[in-house]
Amino acid sequence: MTQLYLYEGGFQGYLTVLDMLRESGEEPEGIMADGEGVQESLLADTVRVMADESRAERLYGDIREHISASALRHAFRAFLSEEDGAEYHIYRYLWLGWEIGADVDARLGDAHVHAVHSMSRRTGCEAHRMQGLLRFRQLEAGPYYAPMETECDVLSLVARHFLGRMSDQDWIIHDLGRARAALCRGGELYFVALPGFDPRLSEREKLCQEMWRDYFKTIAISGRRNPRLQKNFMPMRYWPLLVEEPSRRR
């Protein structure tokens, strides 16, 4: 009987499953994150897997060494896209990679390679978008707080960007949908669970927001109004958390 793998512990858990599959050489019925709503199958045995750090790290290194650093990056980013079936596509992508090495990324016609690339691109795009669209608000207590709502799980990628950029200030990036946050304190980065948060803004913050909203209005040339182009570049789903409130009628 084939096996359905349910893993815990995010990417590390997933890599642990892949490492087990590599050892056993079997073809899985499916690979999924364990949790509510998981449908077990009558036709397959269910195997629950806990993340095993050393196994995950070994596979991580092997992908980089035997396939390529770019394949590792694609696999990680595709995983973060959280699309249905991502785990299976990545598995097939990497298994092709064990056979042909770095050339796997040139097999653009292969359905799994194509799927992994497009998922990876989607994650990368959203992370890049957040580099621009994230808005920090200064809290009364001093640190800066940025709420974020994204389709892909880009928190780790976005946090790394701001660690380099804003290392002289303490900040929190809050992934509202996943109830997780990245904290930067004294130049060190931490990830924590953060279900809810009620930001109390500093006085200076309110003034800055007012100035930014004003600026946003005045910089547009009214004779060239083009809301469609604006929405193309900046999809409306990101608007609620923007300080500039583009939706407000002017």
Partner: protein, 436 residues
């Protein structure tokens, strides 16, 4: 007057400057300093006109001693005149940067008191940001026409990018609309900046620690439609500027009527479509290895508003087509309408593994809407795509027609959306292009 009010006035006054790019320099963050720069740049928002906001774009002052007809801040207009102080601007930039509103500062100015006085204010602001505030983000400074080379040289040490706006493409137009500015005042600083950039690049090849001068290069802006120059003149000028002054970007700005000065043309709406075609032609110069003479010539001095310039060139030069995607070299692929730099590279990469048919092209993300008329796969045309010049032209024009003009006569440019990031001289000014 408080800073908020100043920002309202001086931000609004800066809106006609097109450049907002924060690209071209990579500088990692440093401990104890605020900010870094990534080579691709980052856009932070898009205003109601669909243009990106990447930098805090403001004038230092709107007090102006000049009276250029096309400009909203010309001396003869009565409007509130204000100036920032370097401290106010530095503070504002830091506040906005800390909140991730912006990538940095784009500081321009009207000419207040004198070119040197104005340039000095810009320089003081940049110094304050870099040295006092520990600001490590992006700074774009205007080189004020007529300012002394020494001030410009010092400004360039703090700035990532500098620009001098040419605005009007010929000296004749300059005399007509901007009688206080001389072409030497514009080309002088541009030449100085170009020379310093080259010098510093050479220096840095030998000494890694030598200070970088304007590492993201220099740019300029031309107003389109205020004066009668045709597209061929404008493209030749741009080509000359890229070649001789090694500019990173030339920006084109559709003329917005800001006054009823009799020297200006009466326009109902800015020539946005023409501006768009100029940007497309500009991309052909910079990224597709075209020359201005291929895109336009004396018989076709104006870009076709109905057709993108690459399709236009391809239809006039059928001898280069069809291109066989499995054998053609990179340069030939680049010249196929509808294939971009990315698609061309992907084709080269993918065909190492197996030969490509139309299905495979689609799978690797090549868009065939336009390209189908100009390529073959294994010697065969895309089904139904082998047709004559007139027919191809008709199809492409229909396919990419901008949305119908709105009642007020302005075009809604659906075209812009797919065009990638917009981003982004005759007589003596034509000394730039090397021909008179």
């Amino acid at each position: 007057m408080d800073v908020e009010e100043k920002l309202r006035i001086l931000g609004g006054a800066a809106r006609y400057d097109v450049s907002c790019s924060s690209s071209g320099v990579r500088r990692p963050g440093r401990k104890g300093r605020l900010g870094d720069c990534t080579s691709a740049g980052v856009c932070h928002s898009w205003s109601d006109d669909g243009r990106c906001i990447s930098l805090l774009k403001v004038l230092f002052s709107n007090h102006c001693i000049y009276d250029c007809a096309y400009c909203a801040n010309r001396a003869s207009v009565s409007r509130p005149r204000v100036s920032f102080t370097p401290e106010e601007l530095a503070e504002l930039t830091m506040d906005f940067y800390r909140r991730n509103y912006i990538e940095g500062l784009f500081l321009s100015s009207a000419v207040w008191v004198s070119p040197d006085y104005t340039m000095e204010r810009l320089l003081l602001t940049a110094c304050k940001l870099r040295q006092e505030k520990g600001f490590n983000g992006y700074i774009h400074l205007k080189a004020i026409p007529g300012a002394s080379p020494e001030l410009i040289r010092r400004a360039g040490i703090h700035a990532d990018r500098m620009s001098v706006n040419i605005e009007l493409p010929t000296e004749k137009s300059l005399r007509l609309l901007a009688p206080d500015k001389k072409k030497e005042d514009i080309l002088g600083p541009m030449g100085d900046v170009a020379e310093q950039i080259n010098g510093s690049r050479e220096e840095r090849k030998r000494f890694k620690k030598a200070p970088a001068f304007v590492p993201a290069g220099q740019s300029t802006q031309l107003i389109v439609g205020a004066t009668p120059e045709n597209d061929l003149r404008i493209m030749r000028l741009a080509e000359g500027l890229y070649g001789r002054y090694n500019l990173k970007r030339v920006y084109y700005s559709a003329f917005m009527p800001v006054s009823d000065d009799p020297r200006l043309p009466g326009l109902d709406s800015p020539p946005l479509l023409r501006e768009h075609r100029l940007y497309q032609a500009d991309w052909l110069l910079r990224h597709y290895h075209f020359t201005s003479g291929e895109i336009l010539d004396d018989e076709h001095p104006q870009l076709d508003e109905e057709l993108d310039p690459k399709s236009g060139w391809a239809l006039r030069n059928p001898q280069f087509f069809p291109v066989e995607v499995n054998r053609a070299d990179y340069e030939a692929l680049l010249r196929v309408p509808g294939l971009g730099v990315k698609s061309a590279k992907r084709i080269l990469y993918a065909r190492r593994i197996h030969s490509l048919d139309f299905d495979a092209l689609k799978k690797i993300g090549v868009v065939l809407k336009r390209a189908r008329y100009f390529i073959t796969c294994g010697g065969r045309y895309y089904s139904g795509a082998k047709m004559g010049e007139e027919e191809i032209r008709r199809n492409i024009v229909t396919l990419f027609r901008p949305a119908a003009p709105k009642p007020d006569g302005s075009h809604q440019l659906s075209l812009f959306a797919g065009a990638g990031p917009p981003f982004g001289v005759e007589d003596a000014l034509s000394s730039a292009s090397g021909e008179l």
